[in-house]
C-alpha cells in the first residue's frame, strides 16, 4: 500500500552542480593565481599582483564553497549523494558528523586544500614583500591537490574523484535505480567507521592537516629563495612559520597517538604503523631543518642544509600521502586507504613534486653561500648540525623501511619494463615494532644527549671546561633520577643478548631523557635566569626529555595483568614465546589478576555499542580490598561491515594507567547449545577437572534418612585457580523406593553444577557429574595492561608544545626587529 511506504526524499541535484562548479572554479582560479603571482614576482608588476590576489581570493572562496556544500550534504542527510551515504548515517551525534567529512579520501584532500587556502589568505593579509613568491607556490600546490577532486577522465587517465557523485552514478547496476523515486528505498547512510567514532578523531585530522599545510609555508619560502636567487633573507620570516608547522604537526601526531591509545586495542599509543610513520617522518625532518635555520640566523652557517631539509620535509608530506592513499602498502598496513583508482595520478604527483624542488636545488647548490672555514667543535652550531643529522637519519631509516612495499612495486615495474634484474622481493621486518624500537632507541639516546648538551655550548666557540662543568652537573642529576626511576619501576640492569647478558640499553635512554631535562633546566635557571620569553627552545627540549622518559617507561615496563594463570598445559611443543595474555572471565566469578581481583559483572547495550562492566578490586598484601572501581570496555558494531571493534577502558592513576579491553565474547550461535555434561568416575582424593578449574573429592558420608528417602552426600572442594581457597559443595544422592535421584548442586560464584550421580560401594568408587551451562553472554575474554608513568608522555608533550609556542613568539619579535632595522640578514 502506497501510504505505508516511507516518504521518498527528493534528489537535490543542486548540491552536486554547485559543488562541482566550485571545484572547477577553485581549480582554474588557483592556476590563474599561480601564473599571475609568478609573473608578479618575476617582473615586479603591480597589475599581475592584483590579478594574482583576486584569483587567489576567488580560489579561497570557492574552496569554502566546496566545503560548505559537502557539509550541507552530510548534515542534511542527502543520501542521494554517494559521499553522504557512504560515510554518514542519521543516528550519528553531531560531533561525529564532522568526522564523516574527512573519513573518505576526497574529504581529507578537501580538508588539506582548505587549510592551504586559509594559510594563503593569511599570507596575503600579511602584505609582505613575499606575497607574490609564496602565493605562486601555493597556487601550484592547490592546483595539484584540487586535481584529485576533479573527477574527470582525460587522455585515458582518471583525474581525481569528486565527492559530489550521486549514489545512482556510482552504483548504476543496482536495480533500485529503475524506480524514479528510488530514494524511498534509501532512508539511511551506511554510517561512520566505528573506529572513528571517538572525539580524538574529530580533532586529530584537522590539526594534522593544518600541520601538513603549514609545512608548505617554509617550503614555499625556500623554493622561492632558490628560484629568485635570494638565498638568505627568507629565513627570518620563515622561521615562525616553520616552528608553527612543527608545533601543529607534532600536536596532530600526538593526538593520533592519543586516539590509538583510547580507542584502538593494540595496547599503546604508537605501533610504527605506516600511517603513523608517514606523519612522523616529515616532522622529524622539519625539526632538523628548523634547527638549521636558527643556526644560520646566529652564525650564517648550514644554509644549504637548511634549504634541503625544509624542502625534503614537505616532500615527505607528499610521499606520505602517496604511501597511505595509493594502496601500495598492501600487506603491511591495516589503516591505509585502498586504491581508489588514483595510483597513477599519485605517482605522477610524487615524481613531479620531487623534480619541482630537486632540480632547482641541484642547479643552485653551488650558488647558495657557504662559509669556507669549518665550525669549531666547541661551537653550538656544530652540535646543532649533528643533532639535525641524527633526526634526518631517524627519518630516513623509518621512511626507507616503511616504503619497502612501494620500492618492491617500483622495482617490479622497472624490471618488467627494462628486463633489469632489480630486487623486487625485499622482505619487510617480521616484527616491525621490535625492529623500529631496536633502531630508534639509539636515535632517541642521541637526541636526548644532544638536547641536553646543545644549549650549554655558545655559538662560534665555547670553553670546554665550562661546558664540561655544566654538563657534569646535569649528568649527575640525571644519574640520580635514572637510578631512582629505574629502581622504582623495577627495570632490570642486565638483559639477555643472544648468548649471555648485556647491560640493559633502556637505562641509557632513561638517562638521556633525564639529561635533556636536567641540562635544559640548568640552562633556563642559570644562563637565562628564568626569563620565559627566551626559554622556548629549552622548554621544548625539556618537554621532549620528559616524553622520552615516559615513552620508555610506559613502553618497556608495561605489564600484562591478564596473564593466563590457570597454568593450562597447551601441549604440542608450544614454548613461552607465544602470547598468553588473555583471561577468561565468567560472569560473577572473581579472578585474581596481578594485585586485583577482577569480576565481570554484566553487559549492557546502547545503540551499536555493547558495554561490558568489569569490576576491579585492588588488594593489599593481606588480601584486604583497598579500592574498587568498574571499567566499561565496549564493543562497537560497524554499520557497514558489521565488524565488532573493541574499545578499551582505562583507569588513570597518577603514576600508571590500567588499560583493559575485551578481546572476545561468546559467539551468539552457542546460545542454543545445551549445557556441557561430563561424568567422572572417582575415588576419594581424586581431582575432577572442568573448563575453568577443578574440584577435589574429599569424602562421602551417609546422611540421616528423611522419611523413606535414603541420602548420601559427597563432599567436594571446588577451585578456580591455584590461589583460590576453594568452595565446598555437597551434592546428594537420594534413593527413594529403589530409584536413584541425584539433584545437581550449584557451586557459588562458579558456573558449575555438580551432581553425585552414582555409587559403587564394593569398589569404594563414586560417580560425579559436572554440568556447565553454555549461554550467550556469560563470559568474556579480557586483556589488561598496566602502563606505568604514561602521564609523563602527555605532560612532556604539553611542555614541548608550550616551548615551541614561546619560540614562535620570540622569532616573530626578532623578525619584526630585523624588518624594522632594514637589514637583510
Amino acid at each position: 500500500m502506497e501510504a505505508l511506504l516511507p516518504q521518498a526524499q527528493s534528489v537535490d541535484l543542486i548540491f552536486g552542480r554547485l559543488g562541482n562548479l566550485f571545484i572547477s572554479l577553485a581549480f582554474v582560479a588557483a592556476a590563474l593565481a599561480a601564473v599571475a603571482y609568478f609573473l608578479a614576482g618575476k617582473e615586479k608588476n603591480r597589475s599581475w599582483m592584483r590579478l594574482g590576489r583576486m584569483a587567489y581570493l576567488t580560489h579561497g572562496f570557492s574552496v569554502l564553497g566546496i566545503v560548505g556544500v559537502l557539509f550541507a550534504i552530510i548534515f542534511g542527510h542527502h543520501f542521494e549523494y554517494h559521499y553522504a551515504w557512504q560515510h554518514s548515517s542519521t543516528d550519528l551525534p553531531l560531533k561525529y558528523i564532522l568526522s564523516c567529512f574527512w573519513e573518505g579520501q576526497e574529504g581529507s584532500f578537501l580538508l588539506w586544500t582548505f587549510w592551504h587556502a586559509v594559510l594563503g589568505a593569511i599570507l596575503i593579509a600579511a602584505r609582505s614583500k613575499w606575497e607574490a613568491r609564496l602565493l605562486s607556490v601555493f597556487g601550484l600546490l592547490q592546483v595539484t591537490l584540487l586535481s584529485f577532486l576533479l573527477g574527470i577522465h582525460a587522455f585515458g587517465f582518471k583525474i581525481g574523484n569528486t565527492p559530489f557523485l550521486l549514489l545512482s552514478d556510482v552504483m548504476q547496476q543496482d536495480p533500485v535505480f529503475l524506480f524514479d523515486d528510488y530514494m524511498r528505498f534509501i532512508q539511511d547512510g551506511t554510517g561512520l567507521n566505528a573506529l572513528l567514532q571517538n572525539y580524538w578523531m574529530v580533532i586529530h585530522p584537522p590539526v594534522l592537516f593544518l600541520g601538513f599545510a603549514a609545512a608548505a609555508v617554509p617550503f614555499a619560502f625556500a623554493w622561492s629563495a632558490l628560484r629568485f636567487g635570494d638565498f638568505k633573507s627568507w629565513i627570518t620570516p620563515a622561521l615562525p612559520w616553520a616552528l608553527f608547522a612543527v608545533l601543529v604537526l607534532g600536536a596532530g601526531i600526538l593526538m593520533g597517538g592519543r586516539w590509538a591509545y583510547e580507542s584502538l586495542s593494540f595496547g599503546g599509543f604508537w605501533a610504527w604503523d605506516p600511517v603513523e610513520n608517514a606523519s612522523l617522518v616529515p616532522w622529524l625532518v622539519l625539526v632538523g631543518g628548523t634547527h638549521l635555520m636558527v643556526s644560520w640566523r646566529a652564525t650564517g652557517r648550514a644554509l644549504r642544509s637548511a634549504i634541503l631539509l625544509v624542502m625534503l620535509a614537505y616532500w615527505f608530506v607528499l610521499l606520505s600521502t602517496y604511501l597511505t592513499r595509493s594502496g601500495v602498502l598492501g600487506d603491511t598496513s591495516v589503516h591505509s586507504f585502498v586504491d581508489a583508482g588514483l595510483a597513477r595520478h599519485l605517482v605522477l604527483f610524487l615524481v613531479g613534486s620531487l623534480l619541482f624542488w630537486l632540480v632547482p636545488l641541484i642547479r643552485r647548490w653551488r650558488a647558495v653561500p657557504a662559509k669556507a672555514t669549518e665550525e669549531a667543535a666547541s661551537s653550538r652550531e656544530f652540535w646543532m648540525f649533528l643533532g639535525a643529522l641524527v633526526l634526518l637519519f631517524a627519518a630516513l631509516q623509518i621512511i626507507t623501511v616503511t616504503s619497502i612495499p612501494a620500492i618492491n612495486t617500483l622495482t617490479g615495474w622497472v624490471n618488467g619494463w627494462s628486463g633489469l634484474g632489480l630486487p623486487q622481493d625485499i622482505p619487510t621486518p617480521a616484527n616491525p615494532e621490535a625492529y623500529y624500537n631496536a633502531i630508534q632507541l639509539w636515535v632517541a639516546v642521541g637526541v636526548g644527549l644532544f638536547m641536553g648538551i646543545g644549549q650549554l655550548f655558545r655559538y662560534r666557540s665555547s670553553s670546554w671546561a665550562s661546558v664540561g662543568r655544566q654538563a657534569g652537573i646535569a649528568a649527575l642529576a640525571a644519574l640520580v633520577l635514572t637510578a631512582l626511576f629505574g629502581k622504582l619501576s623495577g627495570m632490570p640492569l642486565m638483559v639477555s643478548a643472544g648468548i649471555g647478558q648485556a647491560p640493559n640499553p633502556h637505562y641509557l635512554l632513561l638517562f638521556a631523557g633525564w639529561f635533556a631535562l636536567a641540562g635544559n633546566a640548568w640552562y633556563v635557571l642559570r644562563a637565562l635566569k628564568g626569563r620565559l620569553p627566551l626559554s622556548g627552545g629549552s622548554l621544548a627540549h625539556a618537554g621532549f626529555g620528559i616524553m622520552l622518559v615516559g615513552i620508555l617507561i610506559s613502553g618497556a615496563r608495561q605489564e600484562v595483568l591478564s596473564e593466563n594463570t590457570l597454568g593450562i598445559d597447551y601441549g604440542e611443543g608450544f614454548d613461552n614465546q607465544f602470547k598468553r595474555d588473555n583471561i577468561l572471565l565468567y560472569a560473577g566469578m572473581p579472578q585474581p589478576m596481578g594485585s586485583y581481583l577482577v569480576t565481570y559483572l554484566a553487559d549492557s547495550s546502547a545503540g551499536d555499542a555493547v558495554y561490558y562492566h568489569v569490576q576491579y578490586e585492588r588488594l593489599d598484601a593481606t588480601g584486604e580490598v583497598v579500592e574498587t572501581f568498574v571499567l566499561e570496555p565496549y564493543l562497537l558494531r560497524d554499520k557497514k561491515t558489521q565488524q565488532l571493534s573493541p574499545n578499551p577502558a582505562t583507569r588513570h592513576y597518577l603514576t600508571r594507567d590500567v588499560f583493559t579491553h575485551v578481546s572476545a565474547v561468546p559467539n551468539q550461535e552457542r546460545r542454543r547449545e545445551g549445557p556441557k555434561v561430563t561424568r567422572h568416575q572417582v575415588f576419594p582424593g581424586d581431582s575432577v577437572f572442568f573448563s575453568v578449574g577443578f574440584a577435589i573429592v574429599e569424602d562421602a558420608a551417609s546422611l540421616p534418612p528423611a522419611g523413606d528417602t535414603l541420602r548420601a552426600g559427597l563432599r567436594l572442594r571446588v577451585f578456580t585457580s591455584l590461589e583460590d581457597p576453594g568452595r565446598e559443595v555437597v551434592p546428594q544422592l537420594r534413593i527413594v523406593g529403589g530409584k536413584v535421584f541425584s539433584p545437581p548442586a550449584a557451586v557459588e560464584g562458579v558456573p558449575l553444577q555438580v551432581a553425585f550421580s552414582n555409587i559403587k560401594p564394593e569398589e569404594g568408587r563414586f560417580e560425579v557429574t559436572t554440568i556447565e551451562p553454555r549461554s550467550a553472554n556469560d563470559w568474556i575474554i579480557l586483556k589488561a595492561i598496566v602502563f606505568p608513568h604514561i602521564r609523563l608522555v602527555w605532560f612532556g608533550s604539553i611542555v614541548l608544545f608550550l616551548g615551541i609556542a614561546i619560540s614562535i613568539r620570540r622569532r616573530q619579535v626578532l623578525g619584526a626587529k630585523t624588518a624594522a632595522s632594514g637589514r637583510t640578514t
Partner: protein, 133 residues
C-alpha cells in the same frame, strides 16, 4: 676532511647496519611450501580461509589461540594455529596475512593481519526495504 663529513659517513654506515639487521630479522614472503623449507625462520604467508573448513576457537579450553585452515596464494592448504587475539568476525575476512613458522605440518602464526571487506569502498547497496502492507 671536515668533521661534519666524518659524522655523515658515520650515519651512512649506521644506516647500512640498520638495514642489514632488518634483513636478518625479516620475514620472507612466500607460501606454505616455503615455510616448510624455511628451517625455523619466520615466513609471511598470504591467503584466504579454506572454504568449508571451520574456524575453531574455544576460549573455555584456551582463550589464547585458535585454529583454522588456510589456502595460500599458490593454492596450498595448511592447518594454522594462531597465537594472536582472534579478530572479531574473523570468518568474514577477505584475506589473511600470517607471520610464523611451520612445525610438523602445522603453521604456527605469531602475527596475524586481516584484510576485511574494505571500510572505504562499498559495492553493495543495502537499501531499506519498505514493508508494503
Amino acid at each position: 676532511m671536515k668533521k661534519t663529513h666524518i659524522a655523515l659517513l658515520f650515519f651512512i654506515a649506521a644506516g647500512f647496519v640498520a638495514l642489514a639487521s632488518m634483513l636478518g630479522r625479516s620475514a620472507k614472503h612466500g607460501g606454505f611450501a616455503d615455510a616448510l623449507e624455511a628451517d625455523g625462520r619466520p615466513v609471511r604467508v598470504s591467503g584466504v580461509l579454506a572454504p568449508g573448513k571451520p574456524v575453531e576457537y574455544d576460549p573455555e579450553v584456551d582463550a589464547n589461540s585458535f585454529r583454522f585452515w588456510m589456502v595460500d596464494r599458490k593454492g596450498v592448504e595448511s592447518e594454522v594455529v594462531c597465537f594472536d587475539d582472534m579478530p572479531y568476525d574473523f570468518e568474514k575476512s577477505e584475506e589473511v596475512v600470517l607471520t610464523g613458522e611451520m612445525r610438523e605440518g602445522v603453521f604456527y602464526a605469531t602475527d596475524l593481519l586481516v584484510k576485511c571487506p574494505s571500510k572505504y569502498v562499498e559495492d553493495e547497496l543495502a537499501t531499506t526495504t519498505a514493508q508494503a502492507g
